[in-house]
């Protein structure tokens, strides 16, 4: 390729991501001229749909924003309303919410590690092609995902669009014996997760590091799910109620998803890598040891190694689920009283893909007058583009087909959920 030749690489429909989007990269010679992550899935206006609805309807409505992380949406919603209403939940309900989240993390991470990201590293176009040569690997991933499904089904009443979560708790709390039925499979899943860490750590990773601002929840004692302050490696340390003072969303012409930035600072990263780097010492010993054994260092700034970090989080989620089941005693009342009052509440929880912020304003009848939802992919979108600006430079001398597949792999480091954010992927590579 001539040094002055313009090349455009286009991926018109990005595969193995949730939702519809495209990628556009323009090169002049081997120098990157432009990168756009185009999210063209139409906006879904969930925040507008919520206006005028009673807060009790929230968990069922927001669960429909995403088929892969409905629990995250339910958890951020119920916590935000509980914060608005000043509702304190039963400690057993708190434990159950952690178990619910464990189920979603196991489902989502197993899907991403084995079915979405592993084919990139092993050189296959998709999981079906990979399964022809790696049957046992794919079978293990499927069984792990199913272990997560079982938790979600038990806790949520059904596998898709769970219906049990409520403001104040759950409509129905499971019995101890029902939870104990999960134990044998979760013990297998914990062992399989440790094997997943070894599998993922054995993949080949591009030499690529960036100086990220990592943002995640941080709880004094626990690896974060539902609670904690929003912190970063550059000194951010705020309550969720101060989120909108510190973060802002920007409209960009090429995307139907807003770009979220830290005011005065710019892009940042949320998700497994951020959680891991900011909360490593809160991981249980078994997960910390698994990370050390495979050479994963803190901080990890190579986004391609996020596949290993997801595997470490699988270990955590299985271990945590078993702990919760051991300690669980059914709550006397599964759902606290939630008297309506005019109020505002915010909450952030850790969806599998990262921080998920909700804010609701309620009137005296408990009707929602304003809603704001900032999903993880909106928060990562600008950071993904910045990764690509730097990463494409490293691979610019390669053939267009290879650049395309490497770019898609780099996007999948973030496991973007475009359906959530539109509120993603085709690659266009242009060389000038």
């Amino acid at each position: 390729v001539s040094k002055q030749q313009t090349r455009t690489i286009k991926v018109d429909v990005l595969a193995r991501v949730e939702g519809e989007g495209a990628l556009y990269v323009k090169l002049k010679g081997d120098v990157v001229q432009d990168v756009k992550l185009k999210i063209y899935e139409p906006p879904r206006f969930f925040e507008a749909f919520l206006r005028g609805r009673h807060f009790s309807e929230l968990p069922d409505i927001v669960a429909r924003i995403c088929g892969i992380c409905p629990i995250a949406y339910q958890m951020s919603a119920v916590h935000a309303v509980e914060n608005a209403l000043g509702v304190a939940i039963d400690p057993s309900v708190r434990l159950l919410r952690r178990l619910f989240y464990c189920g979603e993390w196991i489902e989502s991470h197993a899907l991403h590690v084995y079915m979405l990201h592993a084919p990139d590293f092993l050189g296959y176009p998709d999981a079906i092609a990979m399964a022809r040569d790696h049957q046992a690997v794919v079978q293990q991933g499927l069984r792990l995902k199913k272990a997560g499904n079982r938790i979600v089904t038990l806790m949520g009443g059904r596998e898709i669009h769970p219906v049990s979560a409520a403001v104040g708790g759950f409509y129905k709390a499971p019995s101890k014996s029902a939870l104990k039925e999960l134990v044998d499979e979760l013990k297998w899943a914990l062992d399989a997760s440790l094997a997943t860490v070894r599998f993922a750590a054995g993949l080949d990773f591009p030499e690529f590091e960036q100086d990220y601002e990592f943002v995640s929840l941080c709880h004094p004692d626990e690896y974060p799910f539902n609670e904690g302050r929003i912190v970063s490696n550059r000194g951010l340390d705020i309550d969720a109620s101060a989120y909108e003072e510190n973060f802002t969303e920007q409209h960009v012409e090429h995307s139907n998803a807003l770009h979220s930035v830290l005011r005065g600072r710019g892009s940042y990263m949320v998700g497994p890598l951020a959680r891991f780097n900011l909360n490593f010492d809160r991981l249980p010993d078994v997960a910390q040891q698994a990370a050390r054994d495979c050479g994963l260092k803190v901080p990890c700034r190579n986004p391609f190694r996020s596949i290993v970090v997801r595997a470490v989080e699988l270990v955590f989620a299985c271990h945590e689920a078993l702990r919760v089941i051991r300690e669980y005693e059914p709550p006397a009342v599964p759902r606290a009283q939630t008297p309506a009052r005019a109020s505002t509440g915010q909450a952030a929880t850790e969806a599998p893909r990262g921080l998920l912020y909700h804010r609701y304003i309620l009137d005296q009848e408990g009707l929602i007058t304003s809603a704001k939802i900032v999903p993880p992919t909106s928060q990562n979108q600008k950071r993904i583009e910045e990764d690509l600006w730097h990463f494409v430079s490293q691979v610019a001398t390669r053939p267009a087909g290879e650049i395309t597949s490497k770019c898609e792999q780099a996007v999948r480091n973030y496991d973007p959920c475009i359906s959530c954010a539109t509120h993603f992927l085709r690659l266009h590579l242009e060389r000038e």
Binding site: L111, M115, L116, A127, A131, N149, E159, I160
Partner: protein, 175 residues
Amino acid sequence: VALRIIGCGNLDRGDDAAGLLVARRLHAVVVDQGVDGLGVEIRNVTILEQSGESFSLMDCWASGDDVILVDATAPMGTPGKIQVWNACADKLPEDAFPCSTHGFGVREAVELARVLGRLPLTLLICGIEGKRFSLGATVSPEVDRAVESVAQELLERARTTAGPCQTMRKRTIAG
């Protein structure tokens, strides 16, 4: 021999609900009443609802099952058109089934199951061509008619099921 009928789709996305609506019409007759409209008892039929997400779908059948799966297919200009594929014999067309979560839908479930040796004994895929799939859309009249037609045909099959399913009649309903 047991027959498993799986309806796939999303009730919140217009015609994508087609498979679920077929399952619910059958459920109302076969499970709730245990008899069909003619008073004939129907046994050994399991009716399932699924989102269409591949990996859960693969867990809906075992190697010895006879399975009929109903799902909406992508718009091709003939809404309500019913097509049937014998998935054990042939690969499913790549462009027929709108993708589900992360691009893992019905076609991917079938092809992954084929690679992993996890296909059921028989697997017929009944596709109802959709017209509108946007969030909050209602079911189109063409698809609504096709849903009724497929439900009636499956009810007939459920009533007579006694052995491995054979090929369903292929039929087109004018859109």
